[in-house]
Amino acid sequence: MIHIEKYIIKKMDIPNNFKERYSSIISDFNILSEPLPKSFRVNTIKTTIKEIKERFKKYNINIKRLDFYKEAFISESPEIGKTLEHFLGYIYSQEITSMLPPLTILTELKEANLILDACAAPGSKTTQLATLTNGTIIANDLDYQRIKALKHNIEKTGAINTIITNQDLRRIKDIEPDIILLDAPCSAEGTTRKNPEVFNYWSIKDILKHSNLQKQLILKSYELLKPKGILIYSTCTFAPEENEEVINYLLNKTNAKLEKINLNLKTREGILNFNNKEYNKEIKKCIRIIPEDNNSGGFFIAKIKKC
């Protein structure tokens, strides 16, 4: 009964001005109130996909492999977290969209010596990166309180090729990473299926505040990057001011080039105009993940090459 009440409240809580603002991007707003399917990733540092499939079969827990990533599974069971495999760090609960940024740089990760995960806590992408590279990963986060979770997850998953730093990205110097993953702090509009309270503090002011910070962070990331290095910029929000506008800003300020992203799930192109603002046509190469397309959260990714 309590669950039903919560569900109704969630549905009613989507502000009308939110719906109006994103009517050209999202068709099905109902999905934003529905719970996300439980997804997890097999941690290949510690185990194999085959072993996990066998163990879950033994437990009678149905899991379904996802097409876009052979290590990714979803399950209807709410008890994934009560398995020995979860306890041992053999599997890692992670949202589908959160698994995507590392998948856009699979080839580059094989060659990379130094990777900076610039806003790393709680470590979902860091620990995924560790399964995909032999290079050193700098897992940085500004928020010291969140470093605890980052450290916990890195240790639990056995991601030894990682170091943790607690710096303001804008002040980092003297490093030249081959790859930077900037999963920027954002207004988190794409996470409402997990955190419906996002609607309670949603505001244009918050979007613009984030956009301003994101422009500083992306410019700094680009400066730090090794020549010909790759910068992945991502957010879990819909606001073009935090996505396409940030990329547009970088393209105007630098000689950065955008690269195409190929993922084996439904994506949409970056948008070229919003609220009377026009963006660089190259921005079509960015991708948007819309919840109704893949039964996921909302996400945005840009792949940028330093020229």
Partner: protein, 142 residues
């Protein structure tokens, strides 16, 4: 601030892990050891930044191997381990101490079947639980 451990102490640490647990030293070749506060020893990449606050894996607190270390490297342990049955394992993961018949003493690896559960401390047939509170939990599927 983390500091790289000097060659002599590094050798002593790897000797300890090999002598007590049978963990071959070669498996650590691509990593480096670092020391931080409270005699904590960490394993991490060969090079770190001066503002590094942690590396990948805390492996020892004085002579006590950490849970995460055994969960990652337990597969190389060939001595000083015990194998628990299902009920004992569930209790151990709940955070309980266990009465156990064993001649072993001191810090040991806890195993269940082929799974490396973590570190325990045995004295006089009492297995004292060493799982961090944050890792203790009630498992349903094992």
């Amino acid at each position: 601030m983390l500091e790289k451990i000097q060659r002599k102490q590094k050798k002593a640490i790897f000797n300890y892990l090999e002598n007590r647990y049978g963990i071959p030293q070669e498996i650590f070749k691509k990593y480096e050891l670092y020391s931080g506060s409270e005699e904590k020893i960490s394993l991490g990449p060969k090079n770190i930044l001066k503002f590094t606050i942690n590396t990948g894996l805390l492996i020892l607190r004085k002579e006590k191997p950490t849970t995460s270390f055994f969960q990652t490297f337990g597969k190389y342990v060939s001595k000083n381990y015990i194998i628990l049955d299902k009920e004992q394992t569930l209790d151990y993961i709940r955070g309980k101490d266990l009465e156990i018949n064993s001649e072993l003493q001191g810090f040991i690896l806890i195993k269940y079947e082929n799974f490396n559960i973590g570190c325990g401390f045995i004295k006089n047939n009492l297995l004292k639980n060493q799982l961090p509170k944050t890792r203790q939990t009630e498992l349903k599927f094992i």
